[in-house]
Amino acid sequence: MIRYLSQERPIFLQIADMLKDAILSGAYPEDSQIPSITEFSVAYNINPATALKGVNLLVEEGLLYKKRGLGMFVASGARRQLVAQRKEGFYRDYIQPMIREARHLEIGSVELQQMTERGMKEHGDRNQ
């Protein structure tokens, strides 16, 4: 879970990404408490305000909630929300460019579906 921070992207966004990955993977289950701001900032050697900014991003998106006196908890339904978010991102970042490229190469709809199924079988079909 502890990765090195990259220089390229604002750190608070990287923290937010890391939290979202952890929720998706189940490392931070729903309705469980996540580590404190102090723990995050110490682990990543960053200013607590930066860690807080990253956490607050998720609070704004409704993925985390604060329990007074206790700390931050993962909201129920957060996983579902994130999957939906990521699915939308998947469509935008992968499907759309793929279709553009397919058009370029004059690959039709049927051929595209066949290619997709082939890929699914090769990688072991996980869902349906």
């Binding site: 921070l5 220089q7 102090t38 930066t50």
Partner: protein
């Protein structure tokens, strides 16, 4: 209310260590005082804590002048580079005695940190190695709990492991008990993600004084084939260029955050250290003016 430093000037013989320094350190903030050796960092700290009197200018802490007022001086704690404790005082005794003067001193935490760092509390302070003398002073600073904390080159003499431990202890302290902390250092990149505000000092003059985010906003390092880079950089604020044969890399300031670079060029966000070095190099190229308090 904070610490207000107004037009502080300090001369040592013919050298001007501080030139009309204006600086405001707000309540609760993590500042980095960045500069090379001899830039005036220690002198500034010494003036703030009344170890030295400035030749002109004033220092006010929460509105009151610090000079020789115990109630004000007691709000600031400085971790210096030198030992200010009596010859034969042992570490343990120092911990006890500090509690006399600083009622908020957390002795339990100090002993905990001493154990963590491997500091022998039964040893005499003057008999500690350079590294452990630093660790001793650092532990006191982290446990004293004053509203203002000045750390002068806190990791001097510390090995990599202890440096890492120090930064972690510092962040933990700042997260749990926010206050104003000023770290003076020439190890820029180590503190880059920890400090909120960068104060760059060179030859006694404050060159930059801004939140690190603002300082690095729009600051990119663009690299690739020399000609292409030159084309891209033309008309923009190029701070520093380094070349290696046909390749060059330029630090450019003032670009919009979402700037796209043409094919063949790479862009990387400038680090605080890149920025600092570029700034220093730029200043070096200017005419050498003597440090004689011209202002």
């Amino acid at each position: 209310m904070g610490i207000e430093i107004s037009k502080v000037t300090k001369r040592f013989g013919s050298t001007c260590a501080l030139q009309a320094v204006d600086l405001e350190l707000k309540e609760q903030g993590l500042y980095g005082l960045l500069g090379n050796n001899g830039a005036g960092k220690t002198t500034l700290f010494n003036v703030i804590t009344n170890r030295l009197y400035p030749d002109s200018g004033s220092v006010r802490v929460d509105g009151a002048e610090a000079a020789d007022r115990d109630d004000v001086l007691g709000k600031i704690y400085m971790m210096g580079e030198e030992n200010y404790y009596p010859e034969d005082m042992k570490v343990r005794k120092a911990f006890e005695v500090t509690g006399l003067f600083y009622p908020e001193f957390n002795k339990a935490r100090a002993l905990e940190l001493a154990k963590q760092f491997g500091l022998d509390t039964k040893k005499k302070i003057t008999k500690l190695s350079t590294g452990y003398a630093s660790i001793f002073r650092m532990i006191l600073a982290l446990c004293v709990n004053t509203p203002y904390l000045l750390l002068d080159e806190p990791v001097l003499g510390l090995d990599a492991r202890h440096r890492d431990m120090f930064y972690k202890a510092l962040i933990e302290k700042y997260a749990e008990e926010p206050c104003t902390i000023v770290i003076s250092t020439h190890l820029i990149q180590e503190v880059a993600h920890i400090i909120e505000h960068a104060v760059v000092i060179r030859d006694g003059v404050i060159m930059k004084d801004a939140p690190t985010e603002a300082l690095l906003d729009g600051c990119w390092s663009v690299s690739g084939p020399r000609d292409k880079v030159a084309d891209f950089v033309r008309g923009k604020n190029a701070v520093k260029e380094s070349t290696m044969g046909g390749l060059s890399s330029v630090l450019v300031d003032g670009l919009p955050e979402e700037i796209q670079v043409p094919d063949g060029l790479e862009k990387h966000k400038a680090t605080l250290q890149d920025y600092f070095i570029a700034l220093m190099d730029k200043e070096e190229l200017r005419d050498e003016s003597s440090r004689s308090c011209s202002l």
